[in-house]
Every structure is written in C-alpha cells, then in structure tokens.
Symmetry: C2
Subunit: 435 residues, 2 copies
C-alpha cells in the first residue's frame, strides 16, 4: 500500500506520522515544494523579529529524522504539479511521477493578493512560509537603519508582522481594507487595538484598500519595506483539476474523516475546509493547530482507521504589541451578519489579585437572545487570556447557554485569579441582559 502526501509542513507531516504509527508496513512518501519541512509557521513573525535567532529553531523534525526514525520518505524541492486519479499518479515539477493507493493533499494556502499591483518588487514581502520569512529577515538584517515599513492587512498576521517590525525599530503603518481588525466585525475591539497600537507608535489606517504598491510608497505613505498580510487563499488548484470537489469557500470539501469526494483521496490543513461548529457550516480557517488536527485524522483514515475531526469553533489568539487578544465563536457583529440575534456583555476586570500585580483585562461574551446559547467571546489582557478563551471554546463545543456558563466552577487563588473570574462577571452581565 503506497501513501503519497503532498505538502510537508503541519498537516502533511502530521498525516504521514499518524499513518505510519497505525500502519507500520505502508510505503509513505511526502513531497514538499519548498526547502523546509516540519516547521512551526506560527513562529515565523518571531524569527523576523529576531527572538528566534536561527530558522532551524523553528523546525521540529528533519527529512533525515523522518527517514531514519519513521521510515517516511520526505522529498523537499518537489512540487506536485498535477494529479491523475484515474492512474493514481502525482506528477512532480521534475517530470517524475509517484504512484499512490492513498493520497493526502496538504498543499496549504498562499497569500491572497486581491489583484494588487506591484507585489513582485524586491521590497515587498510576506510571512507565510519559511522562505518568505528568511527573505524578510535577511532584508532587515542587511539594512543599515530600520526601514519605514507598511503592513497591508489588519488581520492576525498583519498584527504579528507589525509587532515584529516595530521590535526591529521600524516606523510602522498598517493598512486595513475594511473597517475592522482581525476580521471580527467588532468596533469595540478595533478601537481598543488601534489605541494600543498607537501607544507603540504604530499607525492603524482602516477602510483603506490598497490596490497597488508604488516603488517608494503605499498610498501617501513613504516606505522602504512592505509586508503583505492580506489573507490567504487555499492551494486547491491541482486538487480541483484532478476532480476533487471544492466547497463554497474555494477550499477542499471533506467529511469528518477528511475524505474528499474521490476514493482514497484525503485533504488536510490550510487547503481544506473545516466545519465551523457555531455556524454549522464548513469554513476556510487556515490555522496551524487546525492543520495539525486535520492531518492527524487524514493520516488515520489513509491507514484505514476511523477517527474524526468534528471541526472548529473559531478560536484564535494573537499577540499585539504585548497585548494578548483572543477570540472564539462569533463577535456580536459576526453573529448579526449570520442571522443570529446577538446580545453582548462587555466587562473590564482585574485578572488576578492586585498584590500579585494583576492587571485589567477585558471579556466580551456574546449569546443568542432567542435561546440564551453562547455564540462567542473576545478576551484581551496580559495573563490567562488563552485559558479564558479556551473555557469559552469548550462551552461552545458543548452548546452551553449563558446561564450554564455562569455556573462554571472556575479555579480561584490570589496568585492566579480573582474570586469572580472576569468570565463569570461577563456571564453575570450577559444573563441580566438576556432576561
């Protein structure tokens, strides 16, 4: 039995490793178009910043490790250019073909350029792949003085890029095409982040769609360096050409076992859709943690085991100049957009006892007025933000109401929390608003 995996970063290698664990006899080959495999792409902004000195430090396993320890053949600089499912063959850019019995497509996603002009200049960068980040880091390292930088895009990557460039001493302007940051349709969060960025002298300019990058400027802003963070599109073309069905979002459609419409063909990671459990429909959610989970399930399926990836609830966290900003489910604006009748409670409260240097953080909890069901949350602060958003993520998975949430038995001790956790204060207010 031959398994071919196209893509050697998060999903592809999770899949290959899982398949190997479940089936020691399978013949497994992974092809990766780039030079680097098995790296934490979410760490790239911190490599650009310099906190991670060398690119190798982001790498989890090498091709040699996979060959030696897992009996998995990993080929870098091997781009899959076509799939013939009738012949069960993957064609590589080298002209070579690989036969498969099972195929896992983990081709990832690429920068969505939105038809922008001028993106191929030497001072224009992105931070999606190791190669992208290395080119940007080299540029920054080679610059005599910190350049004036523009980041195009006010999503998660845009925020991380802005912080990294600021840490390198750049003057930074961030352009967002729409009225909000982080794609959350959340005015309050947008304002909070704009204020926070301003404290770090990062200029956030919203409602300014960039359609072309001039040699020395973006719109009216003079700059030496541009980072594109304009979102991603799934690399689904070779799959589609082979007859693999795409979903509404343009990413590959799969079932809970990550199986596509073609027998023996699975998809995982940023090229595939994930079920959004709050919306109840598949969405394009390109995130590292999701990619790893999908890969694991696809690998199991390819090895004949039956595991499930029931989807996501939309959880994410990002550091914005030292501020932790975490979201899960839907903001009130998103909920309204999707036809819910949202009620939102917003509170600001201390994260732990003041004598343990507890600072104030914020929690916004959103529920549906019609049935009290929780729809989502936004948590910001310094300490325990990931933990708080994860509690809401668990609540969304089990379809808790605001009232259920109010009764959670959360941990308290002065070094770690307050007697009424900010989550519970928000829930109290939310229950009041719902009545």
């Amino acid at each position: 039995m031959r398994l071919v995996v196209v893509g050697g970063v998060a999903a592809g290698l999770s899949a290959a490793a899982r398949a190997r664990r479940l089936d020691p006899s399978m013949d497994i080959t992974v092809v990766e178009k780039g030079d680097w495999i098995s790296y934490g792409a979410c760490g790239l902004p911190y490599y650009v910043e310099g906190r991670v000195p060398r690119p190798e430090q982001l790498v989890v396993y090498t091709p040699e490790y996979f060959r030696r320890e897992r009996n998995i053949e990993v080929r870098t600089r091997s781009e899959a250019v076509a799939i013939s499912h009738a012949r069960r063959e993957v064609k590589l850019s080298t002209g070579e073909t690989l036969r498969y019995d099972r195929l896992i497509i983990a081709t990832g996603a690429r920068q969505d350029r939105h038809g922008m002009e001028g993106v191929c200049q030497p001072h224009v960068f992105s931070v999606n792949t190791m190669a992208d980040a290395m080119r940007l880091r080299e540029y920054l390292d080679g610059t005599a003085r910190p350049p004036r930088a523009v980041v195009i895009g006010a999503g998660y990557i845009g925020m991380e890029a802005a912080e990294a460039l600021r840490a390198r001493g750049c003057a930074v302007t961030v352009f967002g095409a729409g009225p909000h940051v982080l794609g959350r349709r959340d005015g309050k969060l947008t304002e909070q982040i704009a204020r926070h960025l301003a404290r770090f002298h990062i200029d956030l300019r919203l409602n300014e769609k960039v359609s072309s990058i001039e040699p020395g400027r973006v719109k009216d802003t003079v700059c030496d360096l541009v980072v594109l963070a304009t979102g991603l599109v799934p690399n689904a073309e070779i799959a589609a050409d082979a007859g693999v069905q795409l979903g509404r979002t343009g990413a590959i459609a799969t079932n809970e076992q990550m199986q596509t419409n073609l027998t023996g063909v699975y998809a995982a990671g940023d090229c595939a859709e994930a079920m959004h459990r709050v919306l109840g429909r598949p969405e394009f959610v390109p995130l590292g943690t999701t990619a790893n989970k999908m890969g694991r399930v696809a690998g199991a399926a390819a090895a004949g085991a039956r595991e499930r990836f029931p989807g996501v609830v939309g959880t994410a966290i990002v550091r914005v100049c030292g501020l932790a900003v975490a979201t899960t489910g839907l903001s009130a604006g998103q909920a309204r957009h999707h036809g819910f009748d949202p009620v939102a409670a917003f509170i600001e409260a201390r994260e732990k006892a003041s004598y343990f240097r507890g600072r104030k953080g914020t929690v916004e909890l959103v529920a549906d007025r019609r049935n009290g069901r929780l729809l989502g949350a936004t948590v910001t602060g310094e300490d325990g933000v990931a933990g708080r958003i994860n509690v809401v993520a668990a609540a969304l998975s089990s379809r808790m109401t605001a009232e259920d949430f109010l009764h959670l038995d959360l941990a308290y001790a002065p070094p770690y929390a307050t007697v009424w956790d900010p989550l519970l204060l928000a829930a109290q207010q939310l229950v009041k608003l719902l009545h």
Copy 2:
C-alpha cells in the same frame, strides 16, 4: 420585610448585597462575630508572608460603605448565639435579639482540631480568619530570628502556610496525617509536591498524625511555631439547634436556591453543603469562590427571586512554592474510592514555545472506562495552569467524554501555547487508553 444575615465575610455579604440590589426596600442587618468583614480570606497567607503589607488591603468593603452606599447595617463583634425560628429571632452574645422575616446563615467554618491536645498555646496558630492571620503575622514580625515552624496538615492551607513561612525565612516541616497531599488520594501528585517542597528545604512528612503539640516540639521536631491546617468543620451548631437540617457531611443541607428545610431560612458559604456535580451528591467544599456564589443565590432567594446554585465540580488551585497546582473533579484514586472505574493519562509537556521561555508542566486527565466520561484532572506548572483546569471544569459541567475533549478547539500562538496544548496531548493518550 426584615432580612438578618449571620456572618459578614464572603457568603454573608454577597447575600446581603444581592438581596439589596433586588429589593431596595428590605431592611437588612448583617451580624459578624469578628472585627473584620468583607475580606478576602484566601489572601491571608500572603498577608502572613508580608506580600500584602497591611490587613486593610485584603478588605473589599467596610461597614461604613455598606451602611452608606447599600443601606445595609453591618455589626461587627456581634456573635449570633441562638436562633428561635418559632419567634423569628436571632439572639446575640450581647443579649440583644434581632427579629427576622428571612434569615441567611453564613457562619462559615472553623479549624477542625481532631481532638488534638495542646492547641491553645501561644505559639500555635491557624490562618482561617483575619484575626488568626494577624496574630501569626505579629508573632513573626516580633521574632528576632525566623523561628523553626511546623505546619500540621498537608492540604491547600497547609501548602500555602508552608510557603508563607518559608518566605519569612523559617525552617519548615509539614506533617500530613494521611499518605497524600491536598486530600486527592493521588500518589503521583504527592510525590511531585514532596520533591518540589524538598527543593525549598521544606520537609514533608506524611502518614504522621499529630495528636498533641508539646510546648517546644511536634513529635520529634523541635519548633517555635505551629500552624494548624488540619481542615475545617462547618459552624452549623446554632443552625442545627434551631431545627435546620444538616446533611451527611455535617454542613447545612439546602436546595439549589440555598433554602434550608425551614421556611425563609437560607444557608450559604462554608457552613453549607454544595452539590458535587461529578459525584452527584452534596459535599462539604469550603472555598471562597463557592461561598460567594452561594451567597449571591441565597440573597436572591431571600429577596424573592429564583436563582440557582447547581454546585461545584471540585475545582481548586494552590500555589506551592511558586508551582501552580490545580485540580478539578476526581483524581484516579478518588474516582476508584467512589466506585468509578478510572483510566488516567499523565503527560509532561511544554506550556508555550521555548523561545517564549515556556517551561514544562504536567496534566493528568481521568475518565471512566465504562462510558469514556471525563471525571477529573490535575494540572501543574507555571503558566496557564488555572486556564487549563478551568477548561476541564467546563468539560465536567457539560459531562464531556474524553473523545469530546480531544476535539476542543483551543487557542494557539507561540507566546501563549503550543500547537498541541498539554490538555490535548493528555486527551490523545487518554482516548488511546480507553480503546
């Protein structure tokens, strides 16, 4: 309508404040036997340690605040010595009586001395009330050199007392009556904590029940100071004498509205039982956060509103010499003791990216072999421990299985987490063990 609340710390004042908010016209009197009201008793170890310089810093509101801002009469140094429900009267130690239409009993708990001899010596202390802590702090402040200290009891308070005394420079020995720390029937956790305490030169001696405190020593250990941390018993006597029904644990039995068997009489806080939602039966769980929640519900009930306190799942967190130790639900040992068939997965894993100084923490997840339902967890580490235990607490509330838990969509970014959160690694192992 007259409401009398007996007890002015966490539950009593939460109750009074909630009743006032729901009924502006009620006549509300709170009687507290001690000098201090409305203080964070969980902060007392940090006052003893000196991190909190003055006792006033643990006080949330003063009697004057309640009188002026909430129209609530709070009397300190007023001990309720008897209740006559037939006459709807509370008798105070001063001889005075207070009439009530509604009564909330929030008399708290006191040190369980287990018939120990020698507890009334001047060098024997406890840290349950502000008065206790002030007496201990005064003793420490007045000692020329750090005394040799013995802590009797290896539960949560014992651990906090040991850390506080060590921070004051004392040589500390902790005696535990049973084989385990923190009352969790958990050998692995006990060993881990013993090793950690040893690093701070705190000697943990288990299976050594102390039945008497000699003037200059406890058992064979010479000491100048003894802290009793031998657990609590509910102050339920005046309630029982008045015909209020106690539960199996000796604490006051209530329904979800915190109502006792007597019409118009409610109980809240450490004197009352709380439903343990994993065990499905009422337990005695004297904790500050629980007391506040119970008080809030009792206050609402006294004001004629119908709120619910559905109980706890057994969540707690404690700092043990800088190590965060959090528990929820049942350990494997507890689960076995209560007739479950537990399966436990234990993992050690990094809490966040190494380049954000992520250290290793541990997670133990316990499920029932018969149906895969989660029963509890123990989490230790430095960062995000409260958040992790709270995710499990939420999962216990919604009766998740290990498989449900495996699919949680938890937040990931290198400054805050790892791509596979330690919780998910533990869940992966647990699911494997269950199959």
